[in-house]
Each structure stands twice: as C-alpha cells, then as structure tokens.
Symmetry: C2
Subunit: 666 residues, 2 copies
C-alpha cells in the first residue's frame, strides 16, 4: 500500500471516451525509442489506457528528432510542443523531442480520464505549444524535513538532513510532468544553515540521482543558493561579487557542482532580503551579484534566477514615506539592461507578498531589457493554509491577463513572461508549491486543484479557470456530472469568498503575525514589515498616489492614471492606492464601511454554503476525500466567522458607523 | 573563577560599622553547635566579618533549644524568630532554632554590609519575628533546562533532564536564606512531560541531596505535581480523587517519595488550569482533589499548596457575560471551609494574571475558613522581562496593605497571609521567581532588587520599599551615598513609570500575545483568554459593576461600593471596573483620553530620565554592572517608545480626539 494518493494520475476505469478503437495504436514521432523520456511516456500511456479502458496499445516509433540536450531557454517551447492527430488506424503524436511525446501522451490520457470523445478532440489535429519556456515549482523545503509555509506535512525530499529518493520521488515527477511542469527547485530559498547547503560533496550523488529521475520526465533540477556560501562554506571572509577570491571560489565550486550533477539547470537566489546576505552588503548592485554567478554558470548552460523580493523589513510604522510596495521597482528598475542574458529576475505577482488581492508588480511591464519570470504562490500562506478552500487559478488568470501597456500589442503579463513581448531568451512562471508528505500531497484534497491548475495554466495560459477545475475534478475526484458540477461550484467562487471574509478592498495584511492564518486587524499595523492599513476613526487605506508615496505612478499609462485617481481605481484595489473616508462611495454604490460589513457577512455566509454543498456529497465521493475536506471545512467556517466578526467589530468600534442592515456586530 | 555573581552575599570590604570591637565575640543561643544550620550560620558569620572588616570573631555557643523537626505550620515563626542584642564583650543572638541563629547572623552581616552603626542598631536589642510562616519561591524551571517566563538564562537546577547539584546550588541556598526565604518549589507548575515528573526513582537521590542542602539553610524543598500522574506514570486510567485505585496509588507513591526525600515539605499543584488536568475532569471539586492528596501527605507532615488560577481559557471574545476576573472566586469560594487543614490555596495577587496594575483578588478577604497564601511574580512576565527596570516592591506593599474589610482589626492582605486574621495553621507568600543561570542570576542587575526585596518583605512586611531598595543597593552595588541615592531614584519610581508607558488605568493586557513583552493594544482583544479592553470610538473599559459582570460586588463593603461606582473607584483601576467614555473626567481632573496621552508621553520621558541617571553612573559602579544595565536601558527605551507611540496612536485613531498639548501622535 502506497502512503500517498495518485491524485490525477490514478487512472481509474473510465466508461466512455467515444470510439476508443483508435486508441489501440499509437504512432510516436520526434523522440527516439531509446530516449528515457519516451520510455517513461510509453509506460505511462500503456499503464493509463490499460487501467482506464483495458486497452493495451501498440506503439509504432517514427523518426526521432535530434534530441537536444536539456536547455532552459526560449527553444524549450519548440522542443516541447506536440501535435495529437488521428490517422486511419490510430493516434499520431508528432513532436520534436521526448518531452513533446510525453506531453502528448498526457494530453491523450487526460482526454480519456475526463471521458471526452477522443475522436472529437483530436479529429482536426490538436497542436499545443507551451505558453511559457520555464514552468517551475519552488519548494520551500528545509533539509531538516520542515517546510517553510508548508501546510501538508513534512518534506518528501528531506528527512533529517538527508535527501530521500524513493517511489514517491518518481511519482512526484510523473505527477507534475503530467500537468506540464519542467523545472523544480527542491530547497528553500531561505538557505540558512551551512550544514544544509546542498552544493557539498555530502549531497552530490543523491542530487545527481534525483536530477536523472526528473530528467526522465522532462524536468530540470534547480537548487537554491546561499549568497554567502563563500564565507560560510568557502572559508573566505567576503561574498563581494567583484572580489577575485570570491569569483575564483565560485568558479571552482560550480565546476565541481556541474560535474557532479550533470542535469542541473541552475540556481535560484534570494539575496539582500529579510535578513539574507547579498551584494548590498558590499556596496554592489543586485546586477553585480547576479551577473557574477551567471557568468560562471553560463559555461554549463545554466541560469541564475534572482528574486526581486528585496525591501526594507525594518521599517518604522510611523514612517509614511517609505513604501514597501515601491521597493522591488526601486531596487531593480535602475539596472534594467544590466543583467546578463542568463539571469532571470523572478518577480512576485504583486508588490507586497501574495495577499489575496494586490495590484500587479510594476516591474512587470516596467523592465524591458531583462529576462523575467512571474512568481506566484500555491502554498496558501495568506490564503487559508490549505484549510480554507481557495482555488487560485482565477487570480492567476487575472494576473496573466493584466495589460501592462508596456508598448506593442503583446503587453499582458502572460505575453511578457512567455518571452514574446521583448524576445526574452529566458522567461516563464514559477509557483511556491503547496506539497508535502501528507497522503494527498496538499493537505486539503481541494488544494490539489492549485497544483494541477498551476501546471496546466503555465503550460497553456489560454485555458479557462473552469476548464482547468473541471479537468482536475474529473481526473481526481469523480466523473459524475452532478458531482463535478457541485465541486466546481465550490472551487470557482472560493477565492472571491475568501477575499470577502478577509481583508477588504485590496488592503491586505490583517492576518495573525508570523503564522499568517486567522484575523488580526492590527497584527501588522505597528510592526516593522511595511504593511499598514492606516485605519483611524474617519477612514482607511494607504495613499500611494502622487500625493502619497507615488507608487501608483510607477505604472505605465493609462494604468498609472487609473490607479492614481480614487474615482477610476477599481474597487477591489482602492484601499491599496488610497486613504479614503469610510463614507466614500465605491463604484458599487456602497460606502467603504458598508462594503466591509456586507462582504464580511456575505463571505462568511457563502463559506457556510460551500460547506453545505460539500456535505451534500457524502457518499458520492470517496470517503477519504469526503472526510478530509469536511474536516477542513469545519475549520474554515471557524476561521471565516472569526474574520467576519473581528473585521466588522474592529471597524464598527473604530468608525462608530452602524451597519445599514442592523446585523449583529460585536 | 565562579560563573555567577555573589550579589548581596559578596561581602566586600566595608569602611565603617561604628564601634566594631563588639563584633569580635558572638554568643549564640538556641541552636546546637552541631546543628548544620548553625554550622552554616557560623561559617557565614566568620567569612562575612573577615571579608568586610577583617574580624575573626570568637563564637560562644549557649543552650540549644530543642531542635524541632522541619515543619511548615504556624509554629515556624516561633522557631525562626531571633533577637540580636549587645552585651559587655560582644553580640548576643538569641533564638529557638538554628534557623533563628542563621537569620540573626544575616541580620548582623546586613547591618555591617550597609555600613550602619552596629551599636546603634542593636543597642536596645532587635527582636525580629518573621511576618509570614511560609516565604516561598516558585521556580518555573523545566527539566530540559528551559524556564517558563524566564528572562535570565536557563535553569541552574536542570540540564538535559537531569538535576544538577554544584557550588551554585549551595550559594543559591545561601543567597535566598540571607533574605529570609524558607521554602522553594524547584520545578514548573506546568508539569507537562511524564519524563520530567520528579517523583520517580530517577530523581530521588538528587532530590534528597538537594533537600539536605536546602535544609542546611532553613529552606524546605517542595515539588510541583502533575495531577494526572496516576494515569501518566501510574498506569491507571483515572485521576478521579474519589477513585480507590487512585488513592491507593498515591498512598504508595507518597510513602516512597517521603521515604526517599525526607526533607520534602509537600507539593504545589496547578490543576484544571490552562489545559492542565484536574478533578473537574471527573466531576469533582477542587477541594476533592486537594484533600485527597493532602490527607495522604499529612502522615508525613507535608502540605498541599493548590493554585487558584482556574478559569475558562477558551472564552469567546464576543461573550460579555463571562468574566475571567470572577473565575477564581466563583471556583473556590463555594468550598470555603471544605479544604482540609494541610491544604493551602495559593492565590495570585490579582484576579487576572500579574498585570502591572490589578485590584486585589476578592478571594483574599473572601475566604475565611481556608488556609491562604499570596502568590506574586518577580519574574517580569508582564512587567518588562527584566529588560525594563521595574522595582516591584512598592506594588507588593500596596497589595499587602490592602484592607479587605473581612472583619476585625486585622483585615489587610498582610494580616490574612500571616495567618493572624483567621488563625490559619498554614499560610504565607510565594513569588514566581526571576532567576536563571545568567552570571548575575536575574538578567538585569537591577532585577535582583525584586529577588532581594521579595524575601525581605516576606520576612518583614513592615519594611518600606525605600529601606529594602537601599539595603539591596548598598549590599550589592555600592555604599557610596551619592551612588545609592541615584540608584534609588531609578528603582523607586520605576514601577509607576512602567505603568505609565504601558496599559492605562488598570485595563492591562495590551501586550504582544504569547511573549508578553512589547505593545499590542488589540493583541488579546479578539482572543480566547478572557482579557479584553472593549475599546470603541467612544470609550474603553470593562463593565464589572452590578450592571455588568458583577465582579465589583465580590468584595466586602465598602470596597464593593467603591469599585462599583466610577465616581468613587480609584483612577488607577477605573477601566478595570468601568466602561467609560474617553471624555470621562477622572479624579485627577483629566479626561480618560488626556490621561492616556499624558501618562504615555510622561512615562517614556521618565524612562529616558532613568536611563540618563544610569548613564551618569559610568565609572562609579562596577563596569560589569554598568554595562549590563546600560544595555538593557537601551532596549527599555525602545520598548517604552513603542508603547508610548502605539498606545497614543491607537487611541487617537480610534477616538479622533486630539492631544490637548498638540504633541506628535502618529
């Protein structure tokens, strides 16, 4: 008995996929029969069709495309695209590499698993090209087995400071490859303990083995680096990126690392952030730091992914001029064009930190001469800890669809990170992932929709939230139409419901300090983190206009003018950009205070409705799944009630303005 | 080189103690020469006089009183009293036991150390009888070496789950005996880990040894018990105090414990509190639980000290009827008279939990047929973590002097706990202690004044805060009159200053949750601990009058009427008892809101003045002491500034009422 669920790679028996005779023969073209990715793909195809339909397909291998070595750049998309089409006696998958074959196979298996009509789906040929070159998961797993911001058990990569490789490792690779992930960082960006640095002899053999397993599923292994390695394990007294001894140490170290871990794609670095060391210590720029590492890594075809999460985390709450929201832009924009071509800046979707609602980072659409990657978070740090249901794909769709007005037709975030807008060599999207060694991987079974959905959306940004959710539910929980509909009715509105019962109108941060679960309206108000709501008895919000911190003006027009004007600013972000009286009328026609009351009462009531919907599924879904989600709904309702009552009480006590509808405020 | 300071037992050279020829000969009467306490006393006398004055006194032993076995009851005071007087060729110490001799010796040494005129002090004979039978320290030391609410290092009793006995152990006994402590509980009242239960064979030998060392200084050893021991180490499935198997297990266990640790005085128990097990689990009363243990312990002359800190720690903040302040009274008063005669109820000074200002617990003066002990806290949990200077003796003086109007002349708290009011057999005072393995024992050298002062005050409740502080400073830091004056000017107002920059008017609890250091006005406002300020845009405070929770009426008259009426209630407690508008005029003539602003600005300014006073002592006190306290003042000022600014900002933002004096509010 495995101690983990197969989730959407479970391949249970399926009733219908239309005329399935066509599935008895497959012509695979573009990957060599001996290519280990092709071998894995064919095994997956055979196992899947056998399990779902009882079919043992014949496989005919066609011409193999030249199988390029693993690479990170824009050419990935060419190598990964595939076409699935029908021929007289079977299905053709045409690709240009083993990865393309693998993704084609997963496409077919998904079609069957969702009980779609195979012939209808592939009748006119289905060609899919990944939307993004890099589609990455960032694990914040620590070597001791704990996971920073992990809500689903301990790490399955590490136990007691050793790397673990077992069946779960391989099934993890299958699971994420099946949704199109092609890169994974396996250790926390906060690399704190020298003993846990993985670029030492202690870990090379295991990392090489892990890299090979991943490579068999078209996934590149990446590692998080501690910028101060030269000091902490190198015996030097500096980490100055322009210091010759530092450079020499890294040259030697990287030669060793890439020799010992041939599949390694590169490194992720969090520098000068939240107490982490970095080039600022030595009076150098972020570009100096990133370029030094990148120049050395370039020889090995590797890249440096450099996080833009740099801000003053020792701010004085009395200070209304410093604006954390500006920090990423102010720190990174001046060097646009200075980053070498194998550096990617990894930019969080918002300027703060994964709140349930934030504007898009102005670096996206600001930077024009720099490789960029979007960072989102499916670990539900601020969005319910995988206790509360919060299907995040609708949020990610909004982010990707945001028009930055950076020039030209292709100006959305999706365009930028695909590399199309600026012809970037390296680009893509990364998610701080939500997995752990819980049986169901993600704590709450429904949180699996975010892992599934992130991969699917990263692969094909044109997919809708609804399509993705439906695929997830059909493949993972049930193919019963009525059940599917009920679960979609839970997942699809869940993010807006979560938003309604938590922080209103884009202001964010009303969370319990440190844990980030549960309500504490003033929890971060008098703290050092740059996260304030500035509520007083008259109003609330942060003035980030030209009269305030000027943050709104960092956007391209017309976004800057829109955000700068409270009459134009979208309601859902209005308190992020403006300090407004409680009596200010929103576009919705409600006052700010009435909006707060209404959304909180509604959000809690809606959460109750979600729980009721779920409870009605008893007996209609696996008991394990039912009980898992039920137990979490109990906790979600308790949380939602606290949020509702605390936020409403806080603002009633502060403003003295009663609820128009006379509901109970404590 | 010792790794700890001698503090007030350092006995440095002294310049004057008047005509010291009289100190060359001592007549000791009342303790046998062979009594180990007398042996320790004589050693202390000789060491001390040698070090301070170069005198090696001759000692003449007189008649020994019958040396009664160690006991806990009212008769302790008889055995511990002493008289120091002068005779033609020396000093006489007359006592009725070794303990009396020891205390007399420490009296003489203190006189010399303070450079008082020996002849003047003892000319007409000085007879001292301890004010309280039990004068106890409660250590919250855990077996793993950590200390709950410890701010001065780790435990010196435990390292890695083993008991440590070394020179420091003996010097600890000297240190606390010198100020009159006669009982110590060495382990945390929260006995959580079965492995750390000390009533097992693993620890008996060490405990016996420790008990002997303590006994040599007139100190009785006590242990904290886990009420569920029958289940957790006894293998039973119950801890029901009326269950025969439970009773039988305890009989066997106690026989073993008292056999192996002959000096053991008894046990301290925290039951049914904050998640601890207790008799409520079995539908039994607190008296059932305490009496069961006491009846068994009685055979060994031992007592059970039962804490009254029982309340609902899972309260709903929306609930305005439940009042944590009532809990101790409501839980313990109905059984007044039911507790057996070797049970003592240990009652915290206030009804909440060691806030900087609370009313006196109404159990003190409420209970009339029950042995009572007062519990105070010198560990500065809510009073600055031994970072901020907070000399607590003035507070303890207020507590002891509080008139309960429980009937008769002797109705103060001091009268009650001395046993005089009700002729109690067992009574006294305990402090949750502030020591750890820091070099100076208490983190901040000035926090040593609370350890010193608690002992001195427990021994003689007539001493003034000023006398005690002066003794501490002269014995520990300096005998230079100017230096003494400056330090007294720091210590004596420090508690009121701390109160001014923290929670106003008795409301308490505006602290950072869990750590209890630093300001968080709403930190406990929406939580489960029963600790609310109920501030809204109009006012603040908890209505505990007859129209509210009724708590005020739990006091005897006229206290009940005083507290029940906002016009009579003392300003410093007015928000504890009343919810008042910010515009309410206090007796001081200020409004509530202006009081908040004024006290916070003043408190912070005064803290700055204390720090300046201390800084002026550079070069005038030992550098070690100077640097230790300076470093803490830096942190105190940062803390005081945060308190001042956060509290003022919070209430300005909430009330909208400006400071009359136009000072900076953020």
């Amino acid at each position: 008995m495995k101690n983990y669920a197969d989730l959407w790679t479970g391949y249970k028996a399926r009733k219908s996929a239309g005329d399935i005779a066509v599935l008895k023969k497959f012509y695979l073209s573009g990957g060599a029969e001996s290519d280990k990715i092709v071998i894995n793909a064919v095994k997956e195809l055979k196992d899947g069709l056998k399990a779902m339909l009882g079919i043992d397909p014949e496989v005919v291998y066609g011409q193999a495309a030249g199988c390029a070595p693993v690479a990170n750049g824009k050419d990935i998309q060419d190598r990964e695209e595939y076409t699935v089409s029908l021929c007289d006696d079977g299905v053709r998958i045409d690709a240009k590499s083993g990865s393309g074959i693998l993704y084609g196979v997963f496409d077919v298996l998904r079609t069957v698993s969702c009980e779609k009509d195979v012939k209808a789906v592939y009748a006119s040929g289905k060609k899919v090209r990944p939307s993004n070159p890099l589609r990455m998961l960032n694990h914040w797993d620590n070597m001791d087995g704990s996971i920073e911001r992990g809500y689903s058990g301990e790490s399955f990569f590490y136990v007691d400071n050793e790397i673990v490789i077992d069946d779960r490792t391989r099934d993890y690779a299958r699971l994420i490859a099946s949704v199109g992930i092609n890169a994974v960082v396996i250790n926390n960006v906060n690399v704190k303990q020298a003993a846990s640095y993985m670029i030492t002899d202690r870990y090379f053999d295991k990392l090489a083995e892990l890299g090979e397993i991943f490579a068999g599923y078209g996934i590149r292994l990446f590692l998080s680096l501690n910028y101060a390695s030269t000091i902490e394990i190198g015996g030097l007294d500096s980490a100055d990126p322009l210091d010759e001894n530092v450079i020499a140490w890294w040259k030697t170290k990287m030669a060793e690392v890439f020799d010992r871990i041939p599949t390694l794609g590169g490194f992720l670095v969090k520098a000068d952030s939240e107490g982490r060391p970095g080039p600022f210590t030595y009076g150098r720029t972020q570009a100096d730091g990133a370029n030094m590492l990148a120049d050395i890594a370039k020889e090995y075809g590797a890249i440096i992914i450099w996080r833009c999460f740099v801000y003053n985390c020792r701010q004085d709450w009395r200070d209304r001029k410093t604006d954390r929201a500006r920090a990423g832009y102010d720190n990174f924009m001046p060097m646009d064009g200075d980053y070498h071509d194998n550096v990617i800046l990894q930019i969080k979707n918002g300027p703060m930190d994964f709140q349930i609602r934030e504007p898009i980072s102005p670096l996206l659409g600001g930077l024009k001469k720099t490789n960029q990657m979007l960072e989102v978070q499916i670990a539900q740090e601020y969005t319910g800890h995988q206790i509360d249901v919060c299907y995040l794909i609708p949020e990610f769709k909004e982010i990707l669809g945001f028009r930055t007005y950076c020039g030209g037709d292709k100006d959305t975030v999706a365009d930028i990170i695909s590399g199309d807008t600026f012809g970037s060599r390296y680009s893509g999207i990364a998610a701080v992932t939500n997995t752990g060694n819980d049986f169901n991987w993600t704590g709450n079974y429904l949180a699996g929709a975010n892992l599934f959905g992130f991969g699917r959306l990263a692969f094909d940004t044109e997919l809708s939230s609804e399509e993705i959710a439906e695929e997830f539910v059909r493949m993972t929980i049930s193919t019963d139409d009525a059940v599917v509909k009920e679960i979609l009715d839970i997942l699809l509105p869940s993010r807006e419901i979560y938003e309604r019962y938590t922080s209103p109108l884009g202001i964010g941060w009303m969370v319990t300090p440190a844990t980030h679960y549960g309500c504490s309206v003033d929890g971060y108000e008098y703290d050092r983190w740059g996260t304030y709501h500035r509520a007083d008895h008259l109003g609330i919000g942060v003035d980030r206009t030209d009269k305030g911190t000027g943050y709104a003006l960092l956007y391209n027009e017309p976004n800057a003018s829109t955000y700068n004007d409270p009459e134009k600013c979208p309601d859902e972000l209005v308190l992020f950009f403006h300090h407004l009286p409680y009596t200010h009328k929103l576009h919705s026609g409600k006052t700010v205070i009435q909006h707060i009351y209404d959304t909180h009462f509604e959000g809690y009531a809606e959460a109750q409705q979600l729980a009721e919907k779920w409870n009605a599924l008893k007996g209609k879904v696996d008991e394990d799944i039912f009980e898992n989600v039920s137990e979490r709904f109990t906790r979600q309702l308790s949380n939602a009630r606290e949020w509702c009552d605390q936020v409403n009480s806080y603002f009633f006590r502060k403003s003295g303005i009663p609820d128009e509808k006379g509901r109970q405020i404590w």
